[in-house]
């Protein structure tokens, strides 16, 4: 039994060590760096016109992206789960695409098709919406890369939602509208919240695609990540650190909030442990419906 115990401890140390080296140490490094200058410095750094404008822009764009993603993502998830139609398999497979495409390539694609050289681009420009090197481009890029999150978070929950519950509600006299709000939505809420919050956090950090589509115009189209990059290249670690830490803090808070909101009463383990039915990835089109 002792060799077993030893083996257990060895494995545990390996895992913890690896994670610590890879993830914890870097985080500690940046936390240390940002607070050696003191809190005042920190606030100063993020309040410069350029920094604050980058932060506000990023938060705004991420928020808009999240709203759009939530709406269309929910719609897509419902359609993919509930309805059968030709090409469903194709659409469902397509959802995974943003996971597989390099963000830089995403940027190039969007810049290409929505830029001023194409029909679509010029049409949009005439409507007053310019994508390239402008704010809509940022949202578009963020939308592309975060697209799978809501859909993939909702699908398993929708699939598990047994029609029984809805039918029980009907038999008790509830209208489809009431049933939707009082039965379906509460069951589906954790999945929805997860998708939404993950979208926001991912959008906050997006870099590759935005750098291409929106460029690097300070105060106008410079998002936080691009700002940080600029600061690094200009050998200004102080500025880079503060903004980075600020973004990290927001992400952290959002995730903690998510954990709290989606935790069923009495549970102490994180998401994956609870959703042990199927890993998020194992959603096969033909299993749906």
């Amino acid at each position: 039994m002792t060799t077993h115990r030893l083996l257990q401890l060895a494995l545990r140390s390996a895992a913890v060590g690896y994670v610590a080296l890879l993830i914890l140490f870097p985080l500690v490094a940046i936390a240390h760096q940002s607070f050696t200058g003191g809190i005042d410095h920190f606030i100063q750094d993020i309040s410069t016109p350029q920094a604050s404008s980058a932060l506000i822009l990023t938060l705004e764009a991420a928020f808009i992206t999240t709203v759009i993603n939530a709406l269309f993502g929910t719609l897509s998830a419902i359609v993919l789960v509930r309805y059968e139609f030709p090409g469903r398999w194709f659409l469902n497979a397509l959802v995974d695409l943003p996971f597989a495409i390099p963000t830089l390539v995403t940027g190039l694609m969007i810049a290409a098709i929505y830029g001023p050289t194409t029909i679509l681009g010029t049409w949009l420009q005439q409507g007053g919406v310019s994508v390239l090197y402008d704010k809509p481009g940022i949202v578009l890029a963020m939308l592309f890369v975060t697209m799978p999150f809501t859909i993939r978070s909702l699908q398993p929950v929708l699939m598990e939602l047994e029609r029984d519950q809805e039918e029980a509600a009907f038999s008790l006299g509830a209208s489809p509208w009431t049933t939707f709000w009082k039965v379906t939505v509460p069951s589906v809420l954790p999945g929805l919240l997860t998708g939404v919050f993950l979208t926001f956090v991912r959008a906050l950090g997006e870099f590759g695609s935005i750098v291409i589509v929106a460029g690097n115009i300070p105060m106008k189209t410079q998002v936080a990540s691009v700002y940080v990059y600029g600061e690094i290249e200009s050998y200004n670690p102080q500025g880079a650190t503060s903004v980075s830490v600020f973004i990290l803090l927001i992400s952290f808070l959002v995730l903690v909030l998510l954990e709290r909101l989606t935790r069923p009463p009495g549970e102490r383990l994180p998401r994956w442990f609870r959703w042990s039915k199927q890993p998020l990835s194992m959603i096969r089109p033909s299993e749906i419906g």
């Binding site: 994670v19 897509s76 578009l140 956090v201 990059y229 973004i247 039915k277």
Partner: protein, 265 residues
Amino acid sequence: MIRRLLISSVWLYFALLLISPILYLAVHSFDEGIAAFWSEVTKPEALHGFLLTIEITAIVLVLNLVFGTITALVLVRQHFIGRTILSGVIDLPFSVSPVIAGFMLILLFGPETILGTFFGTLGVKVLFAMPAMVLATLFATFPFVVRELTPLLQTIGTDAEEAARTLGANEWQVFLKVTLPMLRWGFVYGATLTVARAIGEFGAVLVVSGNILLVTQTATLHIYQSYVDFNYVGANAVALTLLAVSFAILTLLELTKAKAAATVA
């Protein structure tokens, strides 16, 4: 009918957001002809970029498979204080911007730091060289394997492993003959996601590698370089190549899902 309306809306959403950009790039890349495309894709800088990307991806894949498995096993099968913290930390890379990730590595291994000087005296260059690029990519891809394996391990449970023990298998045999085979599809899926992410890694590697031509320029960095140099044909050509690889990966993903679902029944 509402149904028609909803389905069409979803098709439209997908078409606008996903399908048209891809199609456009696919076509647009050949604007100057196939010859131009080909020469861009085969020039030394591009080839070096591909090679470097493949190298880094391979290293990252092996490390993640090994440590990811260990971590998943530890997380699911062992109970210890700090387990919740460990699992929370594992999710972090998903919420950290690549640029910030790269920046953290610079802070950790920079010339004035403990680790930086330590490796410096050993003669090992971390930043602006392979090690840092591997670390940056590791950071970004770490969660994939773990997250695929954990729910799988939970579902499978320990019965089969206990059965193997009653039949005389020692721990190593149990692991090789029972645990690993049952995790097969989790591995394939996690590996596929890892590879996709590793190939596409840009922000962190950009910061950490110094983007030194023909030395530390990966495929994605090469695309960026071309773009910045106004070589749109070049940028698009290599981008399209990577896109094609992404599609291949995506197909593999979907096939895996199909296979996995069939046997998990």
